[in-house]
Symmetry: C2
Subunit: 436 residues, 2 copies
Amino acid sequence: ESGALSQVSRMLNHTLSSAELGHLLESSPPHTRKVLWELLEKKKQSTILPFLGDDLIADVLRDMSAEEVADVTSDEDIDIDDVVDILQILPERVTQDVLNAMDDQNRQRIEAILSFPEDTAGGLMNTDTVTIRPDITLDVVLRYLRRHESIPATTDTLVVVNRKDELIGLLPISKLLVTDPSITVREIMETDFPRITADTPDDHVAQLFEREDLVSAPVVDKEGRLLGRITIDDVVDVIREDADHSLMSMAGLDEDDDIFAPVLKTSRRRAIWLGINLLTAFIASAVIGIFEQTLDKVVALAILMPIVASMGGIAGSQTLTLVIRGIATGHIRQNNLRWLLSREVLVGLLNGLLWGLAVAVAAALWFSDPKIGIIIGTALIINLVVAVFSGSMLPSLLKSINIDPALAGSVLLTTITDVVGYFVFLGLATAFYSFA
Amino acid sequence: ESGALSQVSRMLNHTLSSAELGHLLESSPPHTRKVLWELLEKKKQSTILPFLGDDLIADVLRDMSAEEVADVTSDEDIDIDDVVDILQILPERVTQDVLNAMDDQNRQRIEAILSFPEDTAGGLMNTDTVTIRPDITLDVVLRYLRRHESIPATTDTLVVVNRKDELIGLLPISKLLVTDPSITVREIMETDFPRITADTPDDHVAQLFEREDLVSAPVVDKEGRLLGRITIDDVVDVIREDADHSLMSMAGLDEDDDIFAPVLKTSRRRAIWLGINLLTAFIASAVIGIFEQTLDKVVALAILMPIVASMGGIAGSQTLTLVIRGIATGHIRQNNLRWLLSREVLVGLLNGLLWGLAVAVAAALWFSDPKIGIIIGTALIINLVVAVFSGSMLPSLLKSINIDPALAGSVLLTTITDVVGYFVFLGLATAFYSFA
């Protein structure tokens, strides 16, 4: 029994990499997770932190004292930008305690990065840059590098700075290796590269890395002085989180949430989303309620009305998803949104005509009443056009008032397509049947 | 007029990078896009191809002869894996023509990669690997490298192979630069790294790169012989596409589709999705139709019934999204799905009790009828539990019969929550009111 346990413990501590352990913990239900965590050595625990989600890190650090957290995050195997990420998860008061418990050098380096918002280039960067001067020869560079014990991971370029620490060029290591060593850095350094300042939003940084196939890039302050560098591994996280954010937010979920959070925590988070949607469902019901008398007369209307609302919801959410993704990738901007809007409205109209006709024929045959066919067909066309129009406009409208379109867009859109769907369908029916 | 045009043309051809031009074309409506494309020089056009989406590449290549395509794709500025991606977009017959029009060396290299499926490590790799032997000193390696005119982009490690071309180790360039040049490769090469074979699925490759913070990794055949290497820039594309795929598929969209496709093309693609959803809406209506007599008696039921169906849809799609994403990232597997399922059912039940009670009170007050409150509250609880159960189970069920859960999941789920929602609510009402 205890032999088996120590075998498991040995495997956890010595066979699996920190990344693999992080993945294993993220994939484990709470109870298993707790057992695994306690089998890990202190030293190993700290190297796993960067591979855990925000929720898990908060759970793990909750039971530690500020000194213990400072100790864990001062481990030299953890990159400084990962330490910053971890500290940002803690409550501000605790962060300050942890910083106070660190040695001076560590604290200063971390405070420098902490001063930038998490979602900017400054918050994403690392300070472990290898810098060189422009007027030395490559031979000197090679000898200078050989004096190092190691070069930071993902170093594909050396950063060339002048006496004032201003960024003036980049020397790709691949170039360093194939060029005559008697040539100076200045002669072969690259000067045509994108400038990233500390306040550049992280999604812009990600777009830049993706577009230019970068592995690392220097970050400068407003005066052009070197602050640090961003590496592709952190950018990959931004790309992944950014794409996941759209998907998860549209269902009212948070991409940072622990998948295996316990029942009560999960229920509380979901309850809010369901409550908001309940409100919109009641609004739709209130609209239906206006037409109580018509519904009382023609029961077929009650049977058919969900079709109009549901088709509007589907068409609208297609457009909404397209536009939210297009804005996130930078493909959709103010100047081409108008073209897109008219395209979408035309697409909505064409599909409205197609499926409106189909529904009209089906409904007329079902209830042997051509009138109800005309009513539902017309309502469907109108709701589809309104749906794609709303789906196109909502994201940039919401963005302009600083509301996340991925989060609020789908709720608002469903409210619109439900209200319009029921109102137009039942309204048309009331008009038609009271004439009759 | 013509002066301004030639200025624009100059800017396009000489100021913007291929990546920027690709982004510009992707963000332009069809007409603008055509004008821009024609202003580009032939040579520039070919370097942009790797930065375009599948839809656009197909559009561009449609008007070219096989010889022209061969010419464009033989451009030495395009990576061989990008050429393969482009060829895979073409109809198979055309691909063969293009290959025949290439010179022998190019054709053989491309056919080697084409023989692997697009979504495997083999289809993702490049063949431009720098290999070295284990028994030479680092000094020899450095001199060997200096004989090259250039080293392939994103080379962070040299690949160590034996006489049989079998992969035996990796020499990180960062290690090469800091180590005593008289030491041999074998003494410092890394031997503990993940082995990627040509048939490894691309999403596994992406997970590996993400987890281990890799910049490049060698690919071997079943016998361990080196075939090529995968670089992070291509893996970033896989990560982006993989995450986008879930989002877009859940709305019935294809992540490879051109955002600015013309009206007719877009309408046709959307029409199919709307048609499928129309079918499910009719199924829901048919269920409502069963209870025509009850609806005729109690009109309040028609007013309230969308609430039950809609809340089920929302709760179910939260679970569905969570599970689809969890399976894609590898966090959810068969062994922890059971835990997740019971958690979700409990969450559904708790939220069902909470909001069921709220809806019951609201409905009872609205229609001054406690009976209708009990009916809708009970129906809501049942539908929420069914919804989260279906949301948890559908993805792995669909996957086991090789249907994409992101694409089919949401349609199936809505059908279930609509049918169950209407059936339970109206069924309960029929039972209750016929007793009365």
